[in-house]
């Protein structure tokens, strides 16, 4: 419609975003991006005003993870752009497709240390999938099209587009068709060789003790049904990474649960005893492998992965199948034989042993409020709704992963690879904007919450129904736990003196409450769900509670610190 008309670079920017399907952007204005903001009035795109540019990137990230669509964040040059760095790195490590648009000083001023000038393409070079500096209006359309294509194709990731002020202001002819991406070196569409499929099938059919390691790639590829069909047909149990939670239903009999540093002991022992690992869209992160020298040393490994650079990076594999997981499984499935593996599955059941007895959930109410109680009660109350839980990073994140049973993909949004504290609240805003019909719960620690709590104002300004559960233990809990285990309880710089979070919430106009006893958990969750607007619940939980089990950093996966029985007794006695 607008093709071949004359437009400013700023106008072209919004037009191209619309044509890429963008309905919402998260941003913060400033000098170098002002021409773009001025042109926003002609666009149908809804702009969410954030309170800090880091928040904008996490929102775009949350939007992308909740919807599978590209999320967009906008900021000005200099500090606006550098504030995005943490969010970009977060998206990079978790393969989340976002496009960040930053203003840049006028092209004639570049290199002069002009006011609010930063070489943001240089700064973000190692933490973006690709980035661009645009100095002419005529480059805007193609660059935006390429940015979206690169962000969402192959292994997704963040792309930054830095647009000089004059490129936004000057006018040129706009022609969408002529601005097709030109990426001759970019090949996101790889697929394995036939002989590699044959080799993989041979290993699968000869295996007695196979395990599927289910990662984030399943969700990104949309291969949930294929994985389920594969597991059921081949009778293979499924262990999940943190970012894989939801990719395979928690209630499925073949689901083992989360693997790795805070995975249940039986999951890690199963992996260590396996004779075949089938890695589906996961990258053998150090948090899931433990010591590589002793990792699943008797197992053959098949790695289905879209990024060839991940093959043999951490773990040497026997058969790499490089390609889109869903397509690869489509190729494999017709040839997968149904094999009775009840002996293997029974032996895994035995591994579970008394772990369930040690489970804190089965303890009587001692009057103490444990984070696990909060999470598990939250799960029981919200499991039947279309609930998305967005967590921050730390102990509460691991408890969420252990005690909230995720049935569906995209029902848990969390920062895995980078472990970004402050992620949860802004990411949840992005989730709610992407999926307004979903019930969104933020589960966040008292430390991480205070890193980005300014976005409470964004929640209110955008009238978003987001529920916030602060797991408040008055400590930087996970760091405190490491100090307890590995630094002789020297709690250096981990105790937190916090404000009254309920009063803080009220100051923003958010209905807020404080919960100190287990009996209040369910009523508070119900009250939050019934309230129309956003709700904040400050759960004052046990201060020195610990996430069990745990594989110490660098230890072998089977060398776990188990739940001590004394905790069980203490809690029961009181």
């Amino acid at each position: 419609m607008k093709d071949n008309t004359s437009m400013t670079g700023a106008g072209i920017l919004w037009e191209c975003l619309e044509r890429e399907g963008v309905q919402h952007v998260f941003g913060y204005p400033g000098g170098a991006i002002l021409p773009a903001y001025d042109a926003l009035k002609h666009s149908k795109i809804h702009h969410v005003l954030v309170r800090h540019e880091q928040g904008a990137t996490h929102m775009a990230d949350g939007y992308a993870r909740a919807s599978g669509q590209v999320g967009v964040a906008v900021a000005t040059s200099g500090p606006g752009a550098t504030n995005m760095v943490t969010g970009i790195a977060t998206a990079m490590l978790d393969s989340s497709p976002i496009v960040c648009i930053t203003g840049q000083v006028g092209s004639k001023l570049i290199g002069s240390d002009a006011f609010q000038e930063t070489d943001i393409t240089g700064v973000t070079l190692p933490i973006t999938k690709h980035n661009y500096l645009v100095t002419h209006a005529s480059e805007v359309a193609r660059t935006i099209r390429e940015a979206f294509y690169v962000a969402r194709s192959g292994r997704p990731g963040p792309v930054l587009v830095d647009i000089t002020k004059d490129a936004q202001q000057t006018t040129c002819a706009f022609d969408w068709e002529a601005a097709k991406p030109q990426l001759p070196g970019y090949r996101p569409d790889l697929s394995p060789e036939p002989k590699e499929y044959e080799h993989a099938l041979e290993l699968i059919h000869n295996s007695k003790r196979p395990v599927i390691l289910a990662g984030h790639g399943i969700i990104i590829s949309g291969a949930m049904n294929e994985v389920r069909e594969f597991a059921e047909r081949a009778g293979i149990p499924v262990a999940l990474t943190l970012l894989g939670l939801g990719a395979f239903p928690a209630s499925h009999p073949l689901n083992l649960g989360m693997m790795g540093m805070h995975g249940e002991a039986w999951v890690n022992h199963t992996i260590q005893e396996a004779d075949l690992l089938l890695a589906f869209g996961m990258r053998f992160d150090d948090r899931v492998t433990g010591n590589l020298k002793t990792y699943a040393s008797n197992a053959k490994k098949i790695h289905i992965e879209i990024d060839p650079a991940e093959i043999n990076k951490n773990v040497k594999v026997d058969v790499p199948l490089v390609g889109d997981l869903r397509e690869v499984l489509h190729e494999l499935l017709p040839n997968v034989e149904s094999i009775d593996r009840s002996e293997w599955l029974d032996s895994i059941d035995k591994l579970k042993g008394d772990a369930a007895v040690r489970d804190i959930q089965n303890l009587p109410d001692s009057g103490h409020l444990y984070a696990a109680h909060v999470i598990n009660d939250l799960w029981r109350e919200t499991r039947d709704a279309e609930t998305v839980v967005v967590t921050d990073v730390g102990q509460h994140q691991m408890w969420e992963a252990q005690y909230y049973k995720h049935e569906k993909a995209r029902s848990l949004i969390t920062s895995g690879g980078l472990g970004t504290m402050g992620f949860a609240l802004p990411a949840a805003i992005g989730v709610k904007v992407a999926r307004p019909e979903a019930e969104v719960w933020v589960v966040v620690g008292d430390g991480g919450f205070q890193m980005t709590l300014c976005e409470l104002a964004t929640v209110v300004q955008e009238k978003l129904k987001v529920n916030i559960a602060i797991i408040n233990n008055g400590f930087l809990g996970m760091v405190r736990q490491w100090q307890e285990f590995f630094y002789e309880r020297n709690y250096a710089a981990t105790p937190l003196l916090n404000p009254d979070f309920a009063k803080l919430g009220e100051a923003y106009g958010i209905r807020s409450m404080t919960v100190t006893e287990r009996s209040q958990v369910v009523p508070s969750v119900r009250a939050a769900r019934q309230h129309d607007g956003p709700v904040l619940i400050n759960f004052r939980v046990e201060q020195e509670d610990t996430v069990y089990p745990m594989v110490a950093a660098g230890a072998s996966l089977h060398e776990m610190i188990r739940r001590p029985s004394k905790i069980v007794e203490t809690a029961a006695d009181e």
Partner: protein, 181 residues
């Protein structure tokens, strides 16, 4: 072992930085990197040598392909190839030493490109070990200054594809790009 890659990249600003940054952040040690024009103005060609074992060498190739501006990567370590380095060596050469230095240069088929009262500057092109050899015999006379370009390399015999075409409608021939690992 020392791996030699020929890397074709889009001739765009910042591409050298992207490649160099990749090697730095993945902790791959570049031994030498040269970059220059090709027969196609829109394509630049890099010769990169890097110390890596077999698996690392694969990963380097895969990581190079992750850079959007990288068009084609060839690991020519085990291919018959012409490998050349160029050096300019300024040697202290007073009257009595001069004829010895000239003789050595001619044995190595090096050329004298500058003569001054106290020194000679010798230009030599060749494989790295040949240049190392000349340097070794010149050292006793006093090497005042030396510069080397780092190696450039080209496969022998029938041409590889050469610089790939950039027009996206006419993609790089499929067989030239193998990510298979």
């Amino acid at each position: 072992m020392l791996n030699t890659y020929v890397v074709y990249v889009e001739n765009k600003p910042g591409v050298l930085t992207r490649v160099a940054s990749l090697f730095r952040r993945r902790a791959f040690n570049i031994d030498s990197l040269t970059v220059g024009r090709t027969e196609k103005p829109e394509v630049s060609r890099m010769t990169i040598t890097v110390e890596a074992d077999h698996d690392q060498a694969r990963r380097i190739e895969a990581n190079l392909y992750k850079l959007v501006n990288v068009l084609l990567v060839e690991n020519i370590t085990n291919e018959p190839a012409i490998v050349r380095d160029l050096a300019m060596i300024k040697v202290a050469a007073t009257h009595e030493a001069r004829s010895h230095v000239l003789e050595l240069a001619s044995v190595f088929r090096a050329r004298v490109v500058d003569v001054a009262p106290e020194s000679l500057t010798i230009e030599i092109t060749g494989a790295e070990d040949k240049i190392d050899g000349l340097l070794e015999v010149l050292r006793p006379y006093g090497v005042l200054e030396m510069v080397r370009t780092g190696i450039v390399a080209m496969r022998r015999g029938k041409a590889a594809a050469g610089a790939p075409a950039l027009n996206s409608d006419q993609d790089v021939a499929e067989e030239d790009v193998s990510h298979s690992v």
